[in-house]
Amino acid sequence: MKKILLWFVSNDKRFFQGAITILERQHNGLYIVGVTAGVPIQLQVNGKNVNFIPFDKVDRGG
């Protein structure tokens, strides 16, 4: 299972659901730790809210 953070850089969500589905299939599940963006956003994936994380709270530890 891969641990991923979403970073929204524009409103273009054409590839978003496809990318999530492909990564989930290829890695037997996904662990979405949150979503970050320049402005606060509300996001749901599979009907569940994704935690918003401001840039300055994103862990840089790698």
Binding site: V9, G18, D59
Partner: protein, 251 residues
């Protein structure tokens, strides 16, 4: 399979920073922003890249780490780098060579790249409807058809040629000519691809059936539309990583 969520503040590392909407901005710009924000740019992944045929995270990371340089006869290298969110590690971007001159270039690329570019003339770019500089490099012409200014073209050419990774080259061209294909096939490169609109037994011949994409009129436009991600004839990851021919369309 499942998708899990974390409801608390992020404290651990992530495997992937999935950039949503990245195609609007381009991965080179995204990488610059990531560095400014101190986000881990080695973990960036554009969402559209995941949706490309043949994508796996392992192959894509391998391609990124390989620091591939593409020597191409025309825009192919720049277009496919853009499609895959890879940096340009080659000067053969936004320009083109004539077929025979590209073959000459490929016989001694290091020698030609040492040559001082000399302005020859302006030529007409019919698609962009403007003049562009043609430059002499030794005994070959280089057509900088996406530039209007000689100095700017040369400045960018010199900057990009310094980035070439000579240890991982992918060399590509296209032709209608079997004779040109035969000459290309003899070149001593590990990964070499010549797109052709006819079938051939030569290893470096990559057939594109001109009947498939009705919106393309020449082999050059078929190739550019492939590189731009309009239509995928072959798995681009296998092609660039291994030079391996994995057709995605029955031709």
């Amino acid at each position: 399979m499942s998708i899990s969520f974390r409801s608390t503040r992020l404290t651990g590392g992530v495997d992937v920073l999935l950039v949503v909407g990245a195609i609007q901005i381009g991965m080179s710009n995204i990488a610059k922003i990531a560095r400014q924000l101190k986000l881990p740019d080695e973990k960036l992944l554009g969402d559209w890249i995941v949706c490309l045929p043949g994508f796996t995270l392992d192959k894509y990371r391998q391609l990124q780490r390989s620091q591939l340089s593409i020597l191409s006869m025309n825009c192919f290298g720049g277009l496919i780098s853009h499609t895959l969110g890879l940096p340009f590690r080659s000067p053969t971007v936004n320009m083109f060579f004539r077929e025979n001159e590209f073959l000459r270039f490929l016989h001694a690329p290091r020698v030609y790249l040492e040559e001082m570019p000399i302005f020859k003339e302006f030529a007409w770019e019919r698609n962009l409807k403007r003049d562009y500089p043609v430059v002499i490099l030794g005994n070959i012409d280089v057509h900088f058809n996406h530039y209007t200014d000689f100095d700017e073209a040369v400045k960018i050419w010199n900057r990009r040629k310094a980035r070439i990774n000579w240890y991982n080259l992918f060399v590509t061209m296209y032709t209608d000519s079997e004779e040109i294909l035969r000459k290309f096939d003899t070149l001593p490169f590990g990964k070499k691809v010549c797109f052709v609109p006819f079938k051939s037994d030569l290893d470096s011949a990559w057939y594109i059936n001109p009947e498939i994409d009705k919106d393309a009129t020449t082999i050059g436009s078929h190739v550019n539309r492939f590189a731009s991600g309009v239509i995928f004839y072959y798995d681009v990851f296998d092609m660039l990583l291994y030079g391996k021919k994995t057709p995605l369309i029955e031709m």
